[in-house]
């Protein structure tokens, strides 16, 4: 019987949540790396026993952990993330030039084909690749050295590369998103990059439709339609049907279009999910009601999903990497909150229940669908 394993990164460790395909009775394993910030735990689609975890701390820096047995045991892997060539500068918060400084790994994205190939999105923004199972890391410097790089600025959370989307059918095509530089695409396996921000509009920018400078929060793609991208921007939910060459807004009837994560149903490429958050100055749900919104039309028309979610006095946030979907026949949707809850809907969002109530603040949620 198939099963699921949910990989949860929190402010104070990693947790693995497992259940059979019913997704009703859960086993909670953890904390792994207790006391450390776990920005992300990712599994290899090519070998589900291979996991990677980004473990970091303000005291001790960055560690990468690797497991070859589905998270039962872990070994520290390579943690040297060295920018290639001229480091250069980006803009600091006050607009002055500031040298690129490595701080942490926000996101790990394992190759769909090779368990030893994994990408790391880091702060200050850059993308690294390992082809030896995270033992060594090499930057793909064409992104950081893009001609617009000196104009990139950090968002409030730092200048992080937080989203990496790999085209499963074209190993040369990669998408990334950076706060607050925007979205970028490579068509040559990461050698060169170009901004893909046409159609984005950010009111905080002097030039509201600038080539770069947009605070993209998350990009999602269905593997069967790699040219269709969905984006949760700082404000606005956006859609592209041409691999990011242009974007149009699909916020539609959402109560508010600010938020962090966005996800696509595993079997319905036009069914997408967001979690509206009241505003960028109040990082909690509108009216104290935790509602996931689902669109079955690829955006614009949205419905609130509330069954099983708290509908009063709820003031948690859901971060950009904290939503995921499984691949079971009836698609499961998962998200984690800043209050330490991890929710699952085993029926595509119709009904929700809380897997675990009191973890540390959740930074990331991934799910593996196991045979």
């Amino acid at each position: 019987m198939r099963s699921v394993r949910v990989l949860v990164g929190t402010r104070k460790g990693a947790f693995l949540l497992t259940a059979d395909a019913q997704r009703r009775n859960w086993t909670v394993d953890g904390p792994h790396f207790g006391g450390w910030e776990i920005y992300h735990v990712a599994g290899s689609p090519a070998n589900p026993d291979r996991l990677y975890a980004s473990q970091s701390s303000g005291w001790f820096g960055q560690i990468i952990q690797r497991s070859d047995d589905g998270g039962r045991t872990w070994e520290p892997a390579g943690n040297q993330f060295v920018y290639q060539g001229e480091t250069g500068t980006h803009q600091w918060y006050d607009g002055t030039p500031h040298p690129w400084e490595f701080k942490r790994v926000w996101h790990l994205e394992a190759s769909p084909h090779d368990p030893d190939t994994v990408y790391a999105g880091v702060e200050d923004a850059a993308i690294f690749r390992s082809t030896d199972g995270a033992r060594t890391w090499t930057e793909l410097p064409g992104l950081r050295q893009h001609s617009t790089g000196s104009r990139w600025q950090p968002g409030a959370g730092g200048m992080c590369l937080h989203t990496i989307v790999l085209d499963p059918g074209d190993p040369n095509r990669l998408y990334v998103a950076i706060s607050a530089a925007g979205a970028f695409r490579s068509d040559d396996a990461g050698e060169t990059w170009r901004p893909i921000n046409r159609g984005l509009r950010s009111e905080f920018l002097p030039e509201q439709e600038a080539e770069v400078g947009h605070c993209v929060h998350r990009i999602a793609m269905h593997p069967s339609r790699p040219r269709v991208l969905f984006m949760q921007k700082h404000w606005d939910v956006m859609r592209s049907d041409d691999a990011g060459d242009s974007w149009r807004e699909v916020s539609g009837n959402l109560p508010v279009d600010f938020g962090f994560p966005i996800a696509v149903h595993a079997h319905e490429p036009e069914t997408i999910y967001v979690v509206p958050i009241k505003s960028d100055s109040e990082h909690f749900p509108p009216e104290g009601k935790l509602r996931v919104y689902r669109s079955r039309t690829g955006g614009t028309e949205w419905e609130a999903l509330t069954s099983g979610l708290p509908q009063s006095d709820c003031y948690v946030n859901v971060l950009r990497d904290a939503m995921a979907v499984d691949g079971l026949e009836e698609c499961g949707i998962y998200f984690g909150t800043s209050g330490g809850q991890v929710y699952v809907s085993p029926n595509g969002g119709d009904d929700w229940h809380c897997i675990v109530h009191n973890l540390p603040p959740v930074l990331s949620v991934e799910v593996q669908t196991l045979p």
């Binding site: 006391g35 450390w36 701390s57 303000g58 005291w59 001790f60 820096g61 960055q62 560690i63 520290p76 943690n79 040297q80 060295v82």
Partner: protein
């Protein structure tokens, strides 16, 4: 042998209990102790000092016989009490954070 006291998180990472014992060639300095520590426990590379620049991580301090040797003393010969193992070199994490 040189005795080194690590912060709790680094003991966990290195999978050691209690103090670490290291053979360090003369002259024994903090830099040489750290070189030996990272050679014996490669998972600690980058956790105490930057792996490229060698700069001490800002929230860590080096204490030698009750004195703070954190600032510019990496190459100063350590006292006999450390070299003979009578006293440990203490690597201390800042008491901070939530």
């Amino acid at each position: 042998m040189i005795r080194v006291v690590l912060p709790a998180h680094l003991r966990t990472l290195a999978r050691v209990n209690g103090e670490v014992f290291l053979a360090v060639p003369d002259p024994v300095t903090i830099r040489r102790v750290l070189d030996a520590l990272e050679a014996q426990f490669p998972m600690l590379l980058g956790t105490i000092r930057d792996a490229v620049t060698g700069q001490r991580r800002p929230f860590l301090r080096f204490f030698v016989c009750a004195e703070d040797w954190s600032h510019g003393a990496e190459d100063r010969p350590l006292p006999a009490a450390i070299c003979t193992g009578q006293e440990p070199l203490i690597i201390l994490g800042a008491i901070a954070g939530g």
